[in-house]
Symmetry: D2
Subunit: 358 residues, 4 copies
């Protein structure tokens, strides 16, 4: 298995150009469903599928919703419920029983707003390990044994995050680990609108990959579940996406010159509806060249490479985050923390979870 | 003079497509110079120039540097010195003498990081008005009479910012007003890299324009100098810019197929050098169509409109800010505050100014 | 009426040694009741009572509870309800009708944690004035026209807070004003445990008093209701209080040598119960001298003066706040904001108010 | 050696009633000197002295100054220099050479302002370990290999801080450890005015003491130097102190009835001068009883116990911090961070250190 297999091109499995296009092959299973305007995509990759896709074998779940970006509190409440249900499934599938102890890790730099998802979520967890140790509460009271830490980032501590976490796991022996992190999207439409859960472990700080620095079930001996939300996107992705949106725009115009473009993609449509619509809309290559010249004929990866080649030497391939980053981070950290509190502790219910995170 | 004259399409005069292209006409005077790798552009627009450009008559100064974005502390020190020199010129040109009293206004929402430039800068000012009132210091001690306030934004206070400020100016009677605000750029390369000073007043919250809501010399009876830094840019601008960079990239390729693209625009070049280079690089229309099809033949404004038309209904025309927004805002607020402290108070020198803003 | 009349020795009427001891005289009316473990004290002072007490004539209401200090969320919910009921009474008594518009002022320095009560409360208000101005909502929708501002403090702005506020009131013409401020207690037991509402106006920054700087109904032409919570206390008060507690301790020992001191004043007692108990416990002067020598024979004010005289030249008469100041301020600002939102807007109910302040 | 030996009654050796009073005995060596208005007290306790004092054997250094409390920036600059000199002595005495690697630990809860000294100081350190690991810098460049972490507190993480730190030390193998923590003073005059350095290790969270939870040279195998500043004091200490100040006040009155009390203890005196003066001023027992009755005759510990007994059941033995806690914490964290940066890295000098902590 070569090095590159461990360096997927996107933090999100659903964005990986080797995953969804390969979903008909043996070893990559994709299931999609819609619940309460939230699109849920399950991707299961086995060892064989890992060969096709260059992605770690395991389960990847994606929840897609514009609810957070549109500050829709009802949607956030539904999202908390669904996220909790899916987390319970992940824990069960990983063999974690109701009384298991868990360690939650908030990755990222708390002083860089778009990177502070993990630390902000961890702050709002109902943490109980010390109360179990002191004998003050027990599982019968409706709580699990939960600990939580935000280890900081290497640029601030000088220490590989994985070294810190290996040490803590060895000392505290949790039955499972959950890691929360802010991700980079390769698509403008996923920023602050997608939650990914996976059981393939984490590789904090990425960079050069070696086994010692990984935090996964193989290295730690306990299940490691990662929860990530993309909070930033680079200028290359924004431009590449927009050129694609332009293609589809022209494609629709070609197919149906009577309908106004806006009517076809109202902001109220779900991701799933949009996607279906969009796929039908792609113009053929001849039209792409007509509207976009040579650039229109490039494959997606080549188009991205070209844009990168142009922006990077100018210092303009900025990694950006929406202007409203402060409230987005608060809302998303709150959604994750409430979902985890409900997942962990029977004593915390959907109705009461708001009290615990204030 | 119609309404629209007061709604220029960009916060920055140098980005206004009606300004620089009209610089040879009577009434618009543009002077450019380079000091210590900082490009300084003076734009003077008189009543006649205002007719051509639809922009308020007055003086606009732009300092361009990547020093802040590249976290170059020496560059920041030079920037503080030059910014202070230019502010002194603006005050002198407005008839403000050394012992005049000033009110500094920090516009924007302190709880929205990319909007908090004004409030963060104002926090670091050496404020003295109360000490003058109490007779504890006087001009002979090397200080001016300075007051400062961050009035918040209408969405938070429920009050038009201009109403708050008109009230304060009436009660405190400053000899001049300086307003600091975070702006929106129409170009990715100006974000966190440009400082604009103008004497045309401010129009907080923009929106519907009426005289009562303006804060300018005519309304307030004292000079109003605005200092702005663009901290956000929208996806339309990022894409439009990048398509232009692609044009130039192909243009250069057409002209000189032997040189690698990167060699032509090293990141170390100043804005001025890049601009000159870029203008020579524009491919002709035929090449633009070849590489970019119909999109390549669009005028800039049409191209932007098309992109806007595609992104907005999808909810993807996000206003974004670089990921490192927290440190950028700290650094830029500090540069402005130190420059103002030096400008206002003889007792604060370039060497000592750092002590006052900590 | 001399100057001194306007400089009461405590921010709290119930702590003023000229108020409660004079409650049997004409012109000072004191009513006390207990609701849900919250002690509510009404003090009405008329012009004649003002002569006795040196305190501004008007209505003073005090809510006493240890619920915030003890982080009891049920107590906080009750407190929100009762505070809202009392605020409605104050508004009605001041002739403010249901559709009146209000301006809420958050006094204090947001960057000094124990002083940030006003700014923190104001941040959580449902502010609507701009929506009324734009015609987007109206009273029929269940909202009042509310605006809110935190004007900062003179040490930071250089401007008398009253000047800023006079200007805003003139420009925005609210029907009533509510001002929120952190106060200084003269007693350790009131810190973070007492809320005072009064209709006598505010005198921001106190210091030298002159009419121009007052914000009251007479100056502004509209009712001004002040809400204050003591968040700091000085070392003189802590020591003086503790010496008094020691007196009572000895007093009880003298009267009942068999009961342990603790049993007499369990932490679970209400303020009212404690007070009654305490008054019975005062030892007579002979015992006071026996246990405390000459110091034991001093009147309260003389004792405080002596302590002040000793601590001040040493630089040790610190103004202090409890270590847990951060959460206390969050909790108290939240209680005030939720109570005001319920008071102002019919659309905000006790059950829903939590959603508005998150 | 019994359990209690490890539970000294104060975090500060100089406040321990078993230390200074025993300084003439073998095994406890006390040296005091004055440098630039800063009182420096060295206390060396050997195994024998540990028997007398119940305090861990080792070196304790105390720097006393009101410079931070009085916001005197020149005093702070001197304090940084002297603190750095003393830290260099401690490191040398512990056998740490110039090229040794260090781990700095910021103890305390970053979200509780008076407890955030450690996390705030650690944020401002020049951290280099990762750059050494990547080969980007080396000792020859004027830097040491430094890492730094703020592990949080048990109430937030659910994990004993010592478990986290043992894990990190094992994984990263530093040559020495420095731990920074906010302490509790037993005296109002030491709050924010004393820095203690010791080589006896730390016992995070104190509470039940057992060897596993200690972080000292014996447990970790490398020197552990603790830096602490008292930031809080309880009401018992404030009262007890003030009663002592009253004693001295009366004592002076007895001895010299002509001088006003204030003239004897001007605020400008150093701690050392005040202390000397004060010791001469103690009234004899007969006078103490005259002025303070039975309370006046109590030994210090008995007086404290009595006050505690009275305040605790009332819920009034608050742990408090000065109102200006926010700026005090900023200033003190800055002093420690600058002193450490200078101590660690030759490339950071007293003149340049300010640039690194901004």
């Amino acid at each position: 298995m070569d090095e590159q297999r461990f360096q997927p091109r996107s933090d999100l499995a659903v964005e990986d150009e080797n995953v969804l296009p390969n979903q008909d092959k043996t070893g990559i299973d994709v299931q999609e469903r819609e619940v309460d305007d939230i699109t849920i995509v399950h991707v299961d990759i086995d060892e064989q599928g890992a060969e096709y896709s260059g992605r770690l074998p395991g389960k990847y779940l994606t929840l897609e919703t514009l609810g957070i970006r549109e500050k829709d509190t009802n949607m956030q409440a539904r999202l908390i419920r669904i996220l909790s249900e899916e987390l319970i499934s992940f824990l069960q599938a990983s063999g974690v029983d109701e009384n298991s102890s868990g360690l939650v890790i908030g990755l990222g730099n708390r002083d860089v707003t778009p990177d502070a998802l993990g630390p902000k979520a961890v702050e709002q967890l109902v943490v109980t390990r010390h109360l179990f140790e002191l004998g003050r509460i027990q599982n019968e009271d409706g709580y699990r044994d939960i600990s939580a830490i935000s280890p900081g980032v290497m640029g601030v501590t000088g220490i590989e995050t994985s070294e810190i976490l290996h040490g803590i796991v060895e000392k505290t022996n949790p039955d499972f680990v959950i890691a929360i992190d802010a991700l980079a999207a390769r698509s403008i439409e996923r920023v602050n609108a997608t939650i990914q859960i996976s059981d393939t472990g984490i590789h904090p700080g990425s960079g050069v990959q070696n086994a010692r620095k990984q935090l996964n079930e193989k290295e730690l001996g306990v299940p490691v579940i990662a929860i990530g939300i993309p909070t930033v996107v680079d200028a290359v992705s924004i431009t590449s996406d927009t050129i694609d949106f332009l293609f589809k725009h022209f494609g629709r115009e070609v197919k149906d010159r009577k309908k106004p473009a806006n009517a076809l993609t109202p902001a109220g449509m779900t991701f799933g509806e949009r996607k279906k619509l969009n796929e039908e809309d792609l113009p053929d290559e001849q039209d792409r060249q007509k509207y976009f010249g040579i650039v229109g004929t490039l494959e997606d990866e080549d188009k991205r490479k070209l844009i990168q080649e142009v922006l990077s030497p100018l210092g303009h391939n900025l990694m950006v985050t929406p202007k409203e980053v402060d409230t987005f981070m608060e809302d998303m950290a709150n959604v994750i923390a409430e979902a985890l509190n409900i997942t962990f502790h029977k004593a915390v219910t959907i109705d009461s979870s708001g009290h615990y995170t204030r």
